[in-house]
Amino acid sequence: MSKDSARRLIFCPRCDARQEVSRVTKSTSCPSCHRNIMTTDVEINEYCAKIEMWTAGIVTVGKKGTLIAEVRAENVIVKGGEIKGPVTSRGSVTLDKGSKIFGNITAPSLCVGETQHLVGMIVAGPRAAELLAEIGMHPPPVKPAPAPQPKKVPA
């Protein structure tokens, strides 16, 4: 395996700063906001209540899973489970048939199989910013990703 394919680009769920990490990295710290970033994929197959579920990986909620948290992830997949809380994704949010989300969804791509439970404000799709501008709202500003500053070595 080449060295390049062993690395991946991640974005900080808090400040959107980008950095390259190894594919096997489980967590790292953000070069911009210096907060911890979970980079692993998360799979929920049971009841899980947290304040926040922020990861630079993928959040998957299985059929028996119930996730109560503010979710921020690269991609969110709900395979028949349930999320209670706002969901923000940099990639896509996918709801399989029978999945439930009670909370606002913000994502560039949203795919909903036949669902009977979806309550909240949805801002999704490639032209969402255009439609938001029409009603005088603006999408949440994406902070420019600052380059990591070199650490000062004390003399």
Partner: protein, 131 residues
């Protein structure tokens, strides 16, 4: 005699309508509509359709541009080419990947019951006091 439940009324792409429309069967709209659409049947907005309306129907499929609130008793389907700005209320919802949707969504098995209740709430001050 023609079977009205199977025939689909087509509003072509060169048609522009302002006002209120109601029908029983099924309708496909490819043109421009502004106003209100009421039906117990099915309405589909084609890819070239541009609709600014308040819609209350049985089933709805959106492939084009739609602005306004939509209430469907049975099902709402947004195709990948759909651009929807407005609130959606239904018992079932399907959104294809690539669709753009900005608005409030209330999809629940009793979504329409809540509407009925909220519309016909007796004001507290108007209820007679039992002695």
């Amino acid at each position: 005699m023609a079977d009205t439940s199977r025939t689909e009324t087509l509003i072509g792409s060169d048609v522009s309508i302002k006002g209120e429309m109601s029908f029983d069967g099924s309708m496909r709209i490819e043109g421009k509509i502004e106003g209100k659409i009421v039906s117990k049947g099915r309405v589909s907005f084609g890819q070239g359709a541009s609709v600014v309306a308040e819609v209350t129907v049985g089933q709805a499929k959106i492939e084009g541009t739609f602005k306004g609130n939509i209430t469907a008793a049975e099902r709402i389907e947004l195709a990948s080419t759909a651009h929807v700005l407005g609130d959606v209320r239904s018992t079932k919802l399907v959104i294809a990947e690539g669709a753009t949707f900005v608005g409030n969504c209330f999809v629940s098995p009793d979504a329409l019951k809540v509407v009925e209740k909220s519309e016909f709430v007796t004001p507290v001050a108007a209820t007679p006091i039992k002695k």
